[in-house]
């Protein structure tokens, strides 16, 4: 009954930013229901999607994520009443910015997964993993970081010093 094991040349890194009340619980349900999905995803738990700063998504891409998933409660079901609405607005604007910067938006997914939707969690994770696998590794941000491209542009010694002071 086990699905045939597939070997891939590229295993993408997927980071999921999830809220604790809906999607984290939904992922727990997928576990208690013994559903199977690709092991590429790493979860970071937040109280609410409203807590997720777009900077975290940038940081994840910079640190080696090939795909990022943001998932919370369905609209209207937020444990904190309105956090997911704020998140939705914030990410609608942020997507446009990422697109402008040149990040393929296919690598970034937003979804609503409730605590009762273990199956949907599996679907969302599997779909994103397979999509990103087809796209190959995300290099742009990593290379930028490696080349220290940004700090190299700064000529002033005091600015350079200030920049280096950033951990």
């Amino acid at each position: 009954m086990h699905p045939e094991k597939k070997h891939h040349t590229f295993e993408p890194k997927i980071v999921a930013f999830v809220c604790t009340w809906c999607t984290y619980a939904g992922a727990d349900l997928a576990g208690t229901s013994r559903m199977q999905y690709p092991s590429n995803v790493r979860l970071v738990k937040f109280p609410c999607t409203g807590r997720i700063d777009p900077v975290f998504i940038l940081r994840a891409f910079q640190k080696g994520a090939d795909g990022v998933l943001v998932s919370g409660c369905h609209p209207g079901d937020c444990h904190y009443m309105a956090g997911n609405f704020h998140a939705r607005r914030r990410f609608a604007a942020f997507r446009a910015l990422l697109d402008f910067v040149g990040v393929d938006l296919q690598r970034l997914q937003f979804s609503w997964v409730s605590a009762a939707e273990g199956g949907k969690w599996v679907e969302v994770v599997t779909e994103l993993t397979e999509r990103v696998r087809q796209m190959g590794p995300m290099r742009e941000f990593k290379e930028l970081a490696r080349e220290e491209h940004w700090s190299a542009q700064i000529a002033l010694p005091e600015l350079k010093e200030a920049y280096n002071a950033i951990p």
């Binding site: 997928a30 790493r42 409203g50 700063d53 640190k63 904190y80 956090g83 599996v122």
Partner: protein
Amino acid sequence: MSRIGVFVCHCGENISRTVDVEAVARAAAALPGVAHACDYKYMCSDPGQNLLKKAVAEHKLDGVVVAACSPRMHEKTFRAAVKAAGMNPFLCEMANIREHCSWVHEDRAAATAKAKDIVRMLVERVKHDKRLAPITVPVTKRALVIGGGIAGIQAALDIADCGHEVLLVERDPSIGGHMAQLSETFPTLDCSQCIMTPKMVDVANHPQIRLLTYSEIERVEGYIGNFSVTIRKKARSVIETKCTGCGVCMSKCPQKKIPNSFDCNLGTRPAIYVPFPQAVPNIPVIDRDNCTYFKSGKCGVCQKVCGPGAVDYTQQDELITEAVGAVVVATGFDLYDIGPKPAGSPIEGYGEFGYGTIPDVIDGMTFERLASASGPTGGKIVRPSDGQEPKQVVFIQCVGSRAREKGISYCSKICCMYTAKHTMLYHHKVHDGQAYVFFMDARTPGKSYDEFWRRAIEEEEAVYIRGMVSRLYQKGEKIVVMGSDVHVGVQVEIEADLVVLATAVQPRSGADTLAQKLGISYDNYHFYSEAHAKLRPVECATAGIYLAGACQGAKDIPDTVSQASAAAAKVMTLFSKDQLERDPVVARVNERFCVGCLACKKVCPYGAVEEKEIRDRQGNLVKVVAAVNPGVCGGCGTCQATCPSKSVELDGYTDEQIMAMIDTL
């Protein structure tokens, strides 16, 4: 350098079957800052917890990662354990390598690699954990109970008997709910009124219960221990303090042709009415939509005949705001109105059963009123169309329930039993009558339930036919029921005098709106969701709100009463302390960096952010900053993500902690 302890759990074989736990422990031991790492069969067991406590002392740990199940399962357990060992509990984190790893991946190598990653993420997080102290908030020792059916009554009485004040809010003019409508109750066949009305009177007479009937919840603010509830007391048009309940107004009201909804519209009532004679409070209400005075300005008979002068046509809705510490939601159920499909409803109707068009096709509650001694027929079972005694009655079960194609897939739980009861009530009253029941399965789990059902068949001569009914149609005075008997494999046609449909139990209309006011969650059918299906069945995920009765799922009376008492016990547990300890996951403002833009105030769903003026010693205003009231803060962190100067921080989810986790990628 941190001194972190990592404890990897086998969870019997649940984790170790797919994750090489020893390898995970070895990998953890090699991480910078980890002073101790080990694995154990059951970390949550007593010896497992002792191992943890001993290691905390022995290795002088300043952070603990337990790699085991979901934090939703055992975070409290392990935090309590490290606390007992003298460590701040908020320095203990759980790495979820069961629900999020071993149970969802079969490949041992991949699962082990993922488990190592998860542990590493949490180890980095723990390094940035701060010692937090629980927040204490005062508890208002008053409870609000929403709904005055048997669930609400039981919960209110239990809490009030414990000496706490209770506000009982009921939407209808009288408490009693559905149980007051029933004739007799299964499996004992004792009269519902006889056991219900004394409880209603107890509520009315209890010094600790304040009863607000004909009232609805308008607004709920605040949090556990400190809710502020606004209640709309609808205009009764009768001054409660003056009315003596003599009933002269009702007997003199010239408008007497209004269908009585308490009797499922079988009888009629006047425009000024109490829903039923045993109503509590026994104070009438004017149905303004049907009252001649309110419609045309003429009449005013009730005001003229009222001795104490209690009738007041100018009364307005009144808004009352009350402080309570806990809320019990007991809003109950409605029966599925199985007529034509309602507009905009995802649920299909049952047009083929002729409900609403054939007068002698009725639902179970209507049959209860027919059989009830206090009902419109005085307990005589007759056909609504011509008042004749029906000699052949067909009962159809699972109408609406367990019908996925119709939109409801759950079992309504009470119909098998009440249909068996109906056949008995019918047999007791119409000795030469015959009851037929079409059923899918008979579900009779419950004390003395199966015996009761067997009795309906073996002693009370009900004929049970396993199979569904496809169509009903009127033929002269009879209703032809076309169904199948799947045991014999034949089509069955019965000419019935009366057809009773066991329609599905649904949450009360407006259940979703109330849930949104309370900030509690509900499922697709609008049944309220409990915090945990097995271990926290009467609590909502929203702290301080508890559930009782059929608003949480279809239930019979014994289950409802048990759940109501359980909810009351939870409220009393909360009220047993003067101060409540809350998780300190709340936002804090760094006043040095805050520029006072107050974007956080705009996004805060709790209204927890206030403006604070900072003044120098001379009293000159230096600047205005945001300040978070930790008692009100719910801990969502939306403010932190919104703050442009990064001067709000959510304890437990600081930027450092999140960044440290991301940086392990």
